[in-house]
Amino acid sequence: MASVTYRHVWKKFGDFVALHDLDIEIADKEFLVLVGPSGCGKTTALRCLAGLEEVTQGQVLIGDTVVNDVAPKDRDIAMVFQSYALYPHMTVFDNMAFGLKLRKVPKAEIKRRVEEAAQTLGIEHLLKRKPRELSGGQRQRVAVGRAIVREPKVFLFDEPLSNLDAKLRVQTRAEISKLHQRLQTTFIYVTHDQVEAMTMATRIAVMNKGILQQLDTPQNLYDKPDNLFVAGFIGSPAMNFSDAHLRRDNGGLYVVADDNSFTVRIPEERVPVYMPHAGKKVIFGIRPEDIHNPEFAPPGIHAAPVECKVDVTELMGNEIFLYLVSGRNSFVARVDPRTRFAVGDRVQVVFNMDNFHIFDPSVDAENPKAIR
């Protein structure tokens, strides 16, 4: 059991900055997910913690110990790799026992621990097989088993589900969550899949280009993204963005699209937050589920009507994705499945103005900050 701390960690490969002043404190027993697009530095962060990469600057702590100069084997961590990295010429039992044997754990103890882990994971019957005789899902379990038997302070997962098929991935996701509850240990999990991040994490660290973008609970990340990158990365389909400006009119504050294709009123109670930015250029963001067919819009919301043309419709069964075009802006809307809009129709949808996001591009044009 231990906390993990990244203290102003930098990692450079030549001129390339892989980690840019990473500063995270991870509490004991937390399930932290590092998420971001490929090349964002999340795996590097994990490898620095494992001791497989040396940090260029800063400190990595496990518990209260600075582990910068501690060998991987002495850091009391276990890691599950994307490719599982099972030793191909060893049986499943030997794969799981390898780390314990090297640590000179007594034979009986090794046997007990391996069998216990195998039972937990439902792979007792596979112990005598070689990795090549196993399916992807089984290999994945063995890799997790190899980590469990070590009884480490911290578990590291490097995209462990990416090589599984969709159905197995969902199932294994739940199992890893259960495992975390049962073991009561710190889990650090790297993925590029925001669904995995949202479903498993106690907290999520969103990274891009080596920089930590936001660190928060899944719900807060979703509801209150700090910046444009996080807003666009978390959620599927992604949040819709349009270039707009804020206009004061008749005592109200309006978001007006730059091409004048839509004008929506900001509800009274949120006006004070945005008033200082009146007249300025902003980026307006709204999630697909906050665009409704007026017929089925929930009652009591601040609905703002917008005229659009339907470009594509995708029926998902329990919902319909509408690809809408309004002027130079396009939106994805997730609407009620009873909606009967046809491609090419000019329709009216409503934006739920209780849930929208406004970003200020004046400070950082590449990754505008949210105005709150």
């Binding site: 084997k73 890691m79 994307q82 030793y87 010429h89 780390g99 090297l102």
Partner: protein, 289 residues
């Protein structure tokens, strides 16, 4: 019936073309095999014939009149022959094992560790592929004299290690780069030492080891140059050198020459068969996942 016939014709032409398509390479390969195996076959059949028959009808198989084991008798009567055989085996196996061990370790280091001059060192080590070691014979002989290694098998083994290492390191480091990094990382986290990790990687490049085994072993076994120069004494002569004593300036004992060559081929053929399975796997590695 009428609308099915074009389909049948198409299938037939396709089959015909496929048949001839696969026939051509087989013909070429069969022709080459005959061409390559013919000298070996000639040595083999003539080693079982009388001297007269060897010269009279070299292309005929031995029959009741021409059959003779005189060559083999000569070879076995010379007590030294067994010694040559043992010498060749010690030199070949010794050099081979050391080449594979040292080469694999060097290749592992080159492929696994990032250190300044890594690429340069790799290049330096592979220069030996392009420069034949025989160019340095004079220097090597001087060195051997200085180290008192003339007329020893150890001297010969050392030369062959130098001869075999460049290609071994070059090929093995390519193969070792293909071993997934995660596997080594997993072992490192599990607490394996670098030597242990090396031993873990070795079985994964076994096909390459097999191929290199053949590539390096055959030239060593067949070499005449260095045994002649470095260890020509009766005690340390190898089999290829031993055969030379039957070849005189004026008279050659062809029965003995052919018999000893036949005997010399046997071990190398056995090794070849053992290693070739591995080699084929390594050549097709990557082509088939």
């Amino acid at each position: 019936m009428s609308d099915s016939s074009p389909v049948r014709t198409a299938t037939f032409t396709y089959r015909l073309r496929r048949f001839f398509g696969s026939l051509a390479p087989h013909l070429v390969l069969a022709g080459y095999s005959v061409f390559a195996l013919f000298p070996i076959f000639m040595i083999l059949i003539n080693s079982f014939k009388t001297r007269k028959a060897i010269f009279g009808a070299p292309f005929e198989l031995p029959n009741a009149q021409t059959f003779s084991l005189i060559g083999y008798e000569t070879v076995t009567k010379r007590a030294n022959f067994a010694q040559y055989f043992i010498n060749s085996t010690i030199v070949t196996i010794g050099a081979l094992l050391l080449i594979l061990l040292i080469g694999a370790m060097a290749a592992y280091a080159l492929s696994e560790y990032r250190f300044p001059g890594n690429a340069l060192l790799g290049l330096y080590l592979s220069i030996g592929i392009m420069i034949p070691i025989r160019l340095g014979t004079v220097g090597i002989l001087r060195l051997m004299v200085g180290l008192n290694l003339v007329n020893t098998l150890a001297g010969l083994i050392l030369v062959y290690i130098a001869q075999g290492l460049p290609l071994t390191i070059f090929i093995l480091s390519q193969f070792m780069r293909q071993v997934p990094r995660e596997l080594k990382d997993a072992a490192r986290i599990d607490g394996a030492s670098e030597y242990r990790i090396f031993m873990l990687v070795l079985p994964l490049v076994r096909p390459a080891l097999g191929a290199i085994g053949i590539f390096t072993m055959i030239p060593i076994w067949n070499d005449l140059w260095f045994p002649l120069i470095i260890s020509p004494s009766a005690k340390t002569a190898t089999i290829t050198l031993g055969v030379q004593q039957f070849l005189g300036q004026f008279v050659s004992d062809w029965n003995a020459v052919l018999s000893s060559l036949t005997l010399a081929m046997v071990p190398i053929l056995i090794f070849y068969i053992v290693f070739s399975g591995q080699m084929i796997r390594s050549i097709t590695a990557g082509a088939i996942k």
